[in-house]
Every structure is written in structure tokens, then in C-alpha cells.
């Protein structure tokens, strides 16, 4: 065990230090710590989302400087202990995925075996007599001695052949880090020292880049931040319960599967869900590209031969022209016969305009986000921007709710708690978006802006609580849910995302969560749902019309969400950066 402790690498040392300082005589009460953070946050301009501080810090963010430093540290330490060159050490570490303890164990177990595997020869394999001129093993030209080089094995090749060999390897990718002697019978390693001596400037830089990246990519304890364009890496203490990490760039993701944070759904389900959706979208793209919908029943039809007269399959049996999708009875010699159609051109225009409409919609969705609403509001209401943090936080909460709701869809069932959380969320969203518009469009500062602030901040907080409870309930495997309530996991995993009309929650669900909405019973002992006015029996704790009907009877929830939130989740996250 002692040697184990000695061989902790740079990534481990830090966490040890943390433990040392945090577990001491001064037992830090977590509530106090939270209170401290909250206190600091309210004063400073840092709009760090306070709730996130409640999670244990089980990861560190590294920038390029940190990475280089740690890599250098590990190499130096091992090189000293094993008494080998730094270049040899880096080959060794790379081979064992930068695990200092693995290198240590393997080396002292069987040095010979390790040397053979990694290609660290102690002495040359071939000896050449000291001839003035030597033949290169690749191009078979002869050169004076000093124009050839060899790795530790002694196989000599001319400098230009080495340069070419290295260039090809480097341009093939990070495999160049394990480059070996060109001789197929020889496994001698070719390290960075030889690269720096023989490769071109461009190639040397690329090699160096791969070398640095390898410390993150091949290392089991670290991963790059999943945000596109972000250069930070995350060092994670495996074994902690939650995999959610937040990078300095404000992107939050699941370290385990590198998808965006998906609490409370587990990584396996997330993977399947994404696969299913991407497979579907490929199918959809193919169908759009290679088929047309029947004008009557809309089923996609693929035409693979013959003339333009199409008859849809039973029960539809509609006959139409493939080119213009018009009814076939109007076609004949006048319209161009069986293989052409002069109605086609105008119809094509319509297709074009549909594309344009789609493009316009996209653009419109983007426009909302490009102007900074906060700046505008700050001007209009004569409030400093730092006082408008509550709006940012409201939106952050909305984004978080959106994400949780999105992922609970993967389960495909319905919880009683869900109902109230959702209502809360919609109320929050309503306030944050619609009411905010009023103040944005106002002519001058409004008296009741402070009231608005109180309301929104309050809503944010209440919504946050509801969602925390929801998430916790799901993470605990629904042990909190009444047996008459949700369908349960086994049923839902079969219909992964399939059934949009989810059933459940008819039982005597926890009425405790229905605080805030008092049931006004009418004469017959029924109460009327405030969303859909459905008349429910007294014993029903939630409206029997179900979750989906309440958002908008015509649409599904996701439709609602994607339409109502201007822009996309990513755009909003980017907009309201956590400093």
C-alpha cells in the first residue's frame, strides 16, 4: 500500500489535499458553507447559480497550462524513480495511458517484458561496421554516415526517408505517438527526441499537439469539456455519485457519457434515446430525399421505375401524377403524356417557398436572442444591469426545467409530482417571457417593476424546489411514488419515447404536493380543472385529462417547449453565461 501512495500522480495529489483540508477539526457544516456562498453571491456581480454550489466539488477544471504542467510533473517523477530518460518515460506513460501507478507496477513486476512491449531497447539490435557510406533501408540510395539516423535498434535510414516516414505517421493521427522503427521485424520506439531532430517544423508542432492532447484523451481520469470550441479539460474523481460537471465556459454535461447533463435519467437510457432519434432523423432525411407523400393519405411513396402515373396502395388507391402530385384524371396528352408533366414547374416553386418559410422561421428564432434583452431592459427601466440578475436566474431555471422535462420523456410515464412541477414551470415561463415583454416594450420606467421582480424571483425559487423534488424522486427509483400512480419502469422502458399519451397518476397520489391550488368543489362534489375545466371527482388528486392536455390540447409538450422558448437551449445557455 505504501508504494501505491507514493505513486499517486498529479491528478490525485490535489484531491488528497482537498480531503486533508476539509476533514479537519473544524467540521464544516454544509449548511453554513451554502449560506456563505449565497451571501457572497448576492453581493458580487458574479451571477453564479447558487443552487449549483450545493454539490460536492469532485472534479477540477484544467486549462492548457495546467495540463502541460501535470504531464511534465508525472514524466519527471517517473524518470527519476526508474532512472531512464524523459523521452523513454513519456513513451512508457503513453503506453499505460498516463497511469503512474500502472507504470510503476508493471515495470517492477517485469522490466524486460515492459521494455519489449513499449520498444525501449537497452542496446542496439544490429551493428554496422564503420563504413564511410551506408545504404538507406528504404530508398536504397547510399549516403555518407552522417546523413543517416537510427533508433535505439540501430536500423539506419536516411534523413529524408525518416522525414517522410514521420510525416505520414503524424498526418495519420495520434497513432504517431506510438511510432516504431520502419523495419517490420523491429519494435523499437521512435520518440519525441527523434521527431524534433528529423521531422519538418509543421510536423513537429502537430506531434507536440497530439502529445499534449493524449494526456487528456488517453487518461481515464480526464475528459475534454463537451462544449464545442471549449479548450478546458475536466479531471474527475471517479466514484462520486453525480457525474454532472460544469465547465468554466458555463457548459454543464455528464462526465460519464459526455452528453449534456441529463439528471435524472441514467446514461444508458440517454444513449438509447439519442440513437433512436438520430436513426429516425436519418430515416426521415432519406424519406424526404427519396420519396413523396401521397397527396391524399400522406404516406411516403418511393418511385423506382416506370411512368408518372402513381396509384397509392389500398385502402387509399388515390391516383396521381408523381411530378406535380396532382390528381391523375387531369393528366394526359395535354399535360405532357405519361412521362412528363407541365404542371410540375409551378408545383416545384411551392416546394421552394416551403424551404424559404422554414429558413425564415429559423432566422426569426435566432433574432430574438441576438439583441440583449437585459441591456434593453436596463435602459428602459433605469436599473443597473446587476440588479437584473433575477431575470437571468429565472431563465437559467427555465433552461434547467426544460432539460429535465426533456429527459423525463425518455421514461415515458407520468408522475403525480410531475403535474405540479410542470404547472409551476409554465407559470414561471409565462412570467419570465410574457410579462417581461411588457417591461421591455414600456416607454419609461414602471412603478410596478419591483413587484415584477419579487414575483419572478419568487417563482424561480418555488419552481426550483419543485424540480429538485421531481428529480430526486426519479433518481430514487420512484420509491416515493404510490403504487397506483406511475406505470413503472418495466412498462416504460419498452415504449421508450413511443407513447406520447402517457397514462398514470390516477391513483391516490400524494395530495400534499397540491398545495397552492385549492379545489373548489361544486354541488355534485366535483372540481373543475383550471387548465382544461374538466370536471374531476373529489377523490382525484390530479386532473384526469392528463398532463399533456393541459399545456395545449392541440400540441404535445415538446412542441410547446420548442416553440415557446425563443432560440434553442444552447443559445440561451450561451447568452446567460455564468461568469
Amino acid at each position: 500500500m505504501d508504494s501505491e501512495e507514493d505513486m499517486l500522480d498529479a491528478n490525485d495529489v490535489e484531491s488528497l489535499d482537498d480531503d486533508f483540508y476539509s476533514s479537519g477539526d473544524t467540521a464544516v457544516d454544509s449548511d453554513d458553507a451554502d449560506a456563505d456562498f449565497e451571501f457572497i453571491d448576492n453581493d458580487s456581480d458574479d451571477s453564479q447559480y447558487t443552487a449549483l454550489h450545493r454539490h460536492q466539488q469532485n472534479y477540477t477544471i484544467l486549462n492548457e497550462e495546467d495540463i502541460r504542467h501535470r504531464q511534465e510533473e508525472d514524466i519527471t517523477r517517473i524518470a527519476t524513480v526508474l532512472s531512464i530518460s524523459k523521452v523513454a518515460t513519456s513513451m512508457l506513460l503513453r503506453y499505460y495511458n498516463w497511469s503512474v501507478s500502472k507504470v510503476h507496477d508493471e515495470w517492477f513486476a517485469d522490466e524486460e517484458k515492459v521494455r519489449r512491449a513499449v520498444g525501449l531497447l537497452e542496446s542496439p539490435v544490429v551493428h554496422f561496421p564503420n563504413a564511410r557510406e551506408v545504404t538507406c533501408g528504404i530508398c536504397f540510395e547510399t549516403y555518407p554516415c552522417d546523413r543517416l539516423h537510427a533508433a535505439a535498434c540501430g536500423h539506419r535510414f536516411c534523413n529524408s526517408c525518416w522525414a517522410g516516414y514521420m510525416s505520414i505517421a503524424i498526418n495519420d493521427g495520434p497513432g504517431c505517438l506510438m511510432l516504431r522503427c520502419p523495419d517490420p521485424s523491429c519494435g523499437a520506439a521512435v520518440g519525441q527526441d527523434m521527431i524534433n531532430e528529423l521531422a519538418s517544423g509543421e510536423d513537429k508542432k502537430k506531434y507536440s499537439r497530439y502529445f499534449l492532447r493524449s494526456y487528456i484523451e488517453d487518461n481515464r481520469k480526464t475528459k475534454w469539456c463537451a462544449a464545442p470550441g471549449c479548450d478546458y479539460a475536466v479531471n474527475f474523481i471517479v466514484g462520486s455519485e453525480s457525474y454532472d460537471v460544469i465547465c468554466h465556459c458555463s457548459y454543464s454535461f455528464c462526465w460519464n457519457c459526455t452528453e449534456e447533463a441529463h439528471r435524472p435519467v441514467d446514461c444508458g437510457t440517454v444513449g438509447k434515446w439519442i440513437l433512436k432519434n438520430s436513426a429516425e432523423s436519418e430515416n426521415i432525411n432519406w424519406i424526404l430525399a427519396n420519396s413523396k407523400p401521397c397527396p391524399k393519405c400522406k404516406r411516403p411513396i418511393e418511385k423506382n421505375q416506370g411512368c408518372m402515373h402513381i396509384t397509392c396502395t389500398p385502402p387509399c388507391k388515390f391516383e396521381f401524377c408523381w411530378l406535380c402530385l396532382g390528381v391523375w384524371s387531369e393528366h394526359g396528352e395535354r399535360t405532357g403524356g405519361f412521362y412528363a408533366c407541365n404542371h410540375y414547374e409551378p408545383a416545384k416553386q411551392e416546394g421552394v417557398s416551403r424551404q424559404k418559410a422554414l429558413a425564415d422561421l429559423q432566422q426569426m428564432q435566432n433574432v430574438n436572442v441576438s439583441n440583449s434583452p437585459l441591456e434593453k431592459l436596463s435602459d428602459k427601466q433605469c436599473q443597473p444591469e446587476s440588479q437584473l440578475k433575477f431575470i437571468t436566474e429565472a431563465w437559467l431555471q427555465i433552461v434547467e426545467c426544460w432539460r429535465v422535462l426533456k429527459w423525463t420523456y425518455a421514461y415515458g410515464y407520468y408522475l403525480p409530482e410531475h403535474e405540479h412541477a410542470k404547472r409551476q414551470f409554465f407559470e414561471l415561463h409565462q412570467c419570465a417571457e410574457k410579462e417581461l415583454q411588457i417591461y421591455l416594450n414600456a416607454e419609461g420606467p414602471s412603478m410596478d417593476f419591483n413587484e415584477f421582480r419579487t414575483k419572478l424571483a419568487g417563482l424561480t425559487s418555488v419552481t426550483h424546489n419543485y424540480f429538485e423534488n421531481l428529480v430526486r424522486a426519479l433518481e430514487n427509483g420512484l420509491s416515493d411514488v404510490d403504487s397506483n400512480g406511475a406505470c413503472g419502469r418495466t412498462a416504460s422502458s419498452k415504449s421508450l419515447g413511443g407513447n406520447s399519451k402517457v397514462r398514470g397518476g390516477r391513483g391516490k397520489g400524494s395530495t400534499s404536493k397540491s398545495s397552492g391550488s385549492s379545489r373548489n368543489l361544486d354541488d355534485s362534489g366535483h372540481w373543475s380543472c383550471e387548465h382544461c375545466t374538466f370536471s374531476n371527482v373529489k377523490s382525484a388528486s390530479v386532473c384526469q385529462m392528463g398532463w399533456l392536455q393541459h399545456c395545449d390540447p392541440q400540441n404535445t409538450t415538446l412542441n410547446f417547449l420548442t416553440k415557446s422558448l425563443p432560440g434553442t437551449v444552447d443559445q440561451w445557455q450561451g447568452k446567460y453565461k455564468i461568469k
Binding site: 505517421a169 400522406k298 404535445t556
Partner: protein, 199 residues
């Protein structure tokens, strides 16, 4: 001489000239090859079936396509003659794609396209493209710049009698080789005879 003499200076071309010279001066038994008239990057070669084997008497034609990365990258080698061997692909192409009807539609399709029937269908697509190419390790991941044309052709020749069961390009041949050697040899003799008459 070859057209475009000024192109002689690339390392790939210089090396190919040297390979050609070596083949002419010191030819290994049972193989032969030469660049095409005006293109040193494309070679024709012949491999003779090893003596005293079912391959005996066969004259199998191949092409070798080199790139400017030679010798750091291997050439693409493919048989022109019809072959029957576990590690040599047949020469044919076929593409097929069709719609299948599946179960429940996913929500995303509904939301994104407003076509709720679309995702009842799934597309299956099958594309098989085989071109007489060879599954030989030195031609893929075990390549070394030390190998030359002679080495390549010699390795392929020894592959004929010594298939590698781990990478079956021709599953029918692979199966027959392990389960029904007599039928396998009969098929080999068939393509040996065909190699005499083919152009």
C-alpha cells in the same frame, strides 16, 4: 523512357524505378510485374500458382496502384483474374435499399415534421462492393516502407496456399476451405483453368 521525365524526382517515383530494376535483375520465382507504358504509378503483375499445389499452372493477373506516399503507404492491390480464395474479394457490386414498416412513431418526428406517419417507416440499405481486393496484413496495418514490389507479390503468392482464416473476404471460400477441402480444391482448379483463357 517514360513520359513526363521531369516527374522523376519524387521519392515515390524514384523508389518505383528502383523496384522495377530489381524485379528485372533479380526476379523472385513465380512472379513478374511491370509499370504500364506511360504511368509508373500503375503496375500490371502476374503471379504463377505454386508448383505441386491445386494452384499449379495458374497465371493470375493483378494490378497495383501506387500513390505519391509510397513507400510510406502500401499500394492498392487487386486481382483482375477471377479468384476463389478465403482472403480475396469477389468482383461484383450490388446496392439495395428498401423501406420497412416498424412500430411506434417517436415524438420528435411528430414535433419536427408534423408528419405523424413518417416514422412508421425505417430505411434499410445494403451496399456490397467487392473488387478483387486482398485481405493481407502487410497491405494494411502491418505495412512497412521496407517492403517493395517483389516482397508484396511474393507475400501474395504464399497467401494462396496459406489462407488466413481470421479475415475472410470470401465467406463461401473460407467455409469450404475448412469444411470441404475436396470441393475447395476443385473450385481452385476451375479458376486455374479460367486464368489461361481470360484476357
Amino acid at each position: 523512357g517514360f513520359a513526363g521525365e521531369n516527374k522523376m524526382s519524387t521519392p515515390a517515383r524514384k523508389r518505383l524505378m528502383r523496384d522495377f530494376k530489381r524485379l528485372q535483375q533479380d526476379p523472385p520465382a513465380g512472379i513478374s510485374g511491370a509499370p504500364q507504358d506511360n504511368n509508373i504509378m500503375l503496375w500490371n503483375a502476374v503471379i504463377f500458382g505454386p508448383d505441386d499445389t491445386p494452384w499449379d499452372g495458374g497465371t493470375f493477373k493483378l494490378t497495383l496502384q501506387f500513390s505519391e506516399d509510397y513507400p510510406n503507404k502500401p499500394p492498392s492491390v487487386r486481382f483482375v483474374s477471377r479468384m476463389f480464395h478465403p482472403n480475396i474479394n469477389r468482383c461484383y457490386t450490388s446496392t439495395k435499399s428498401y423501406l420497412l414498416e416498424v412500430q411506434a412513431p417517436p415524438l420528435d418526428a411528430i414535433v419536427n415534421l408534423g408528419i405523424f406517419v413518417v416514422s412508421k417507416y425505417a430505411v434499410a440499405s445494403e451496399k456490397v462492393y467487392a473488387d478483387g481486393s486482398i485481405c493481407l496484413d502487410i497491405l494494411q496495418n502491418q505495412w512497412s516502407p521496407i517492403y517493395d514490389v517483389a516482397a508484396i507479390l511474393t507475400s501474395i503468392q504464399s497467401l494462396l496456399c496459406d489462407p488466413n482464416p481470421n479475415s475472410p473476404a470470401n465467406s463461401e471460400a473460407a467455409r469450404m476451405f475448412s469444411e470441404n477441402k475436396r470441393e475447395y480444391n476443385r473450385r481452385v482448379r476451375e479458376i486455374v483453368e479460367q486464368s489461361w483463357t481470360a484476357d
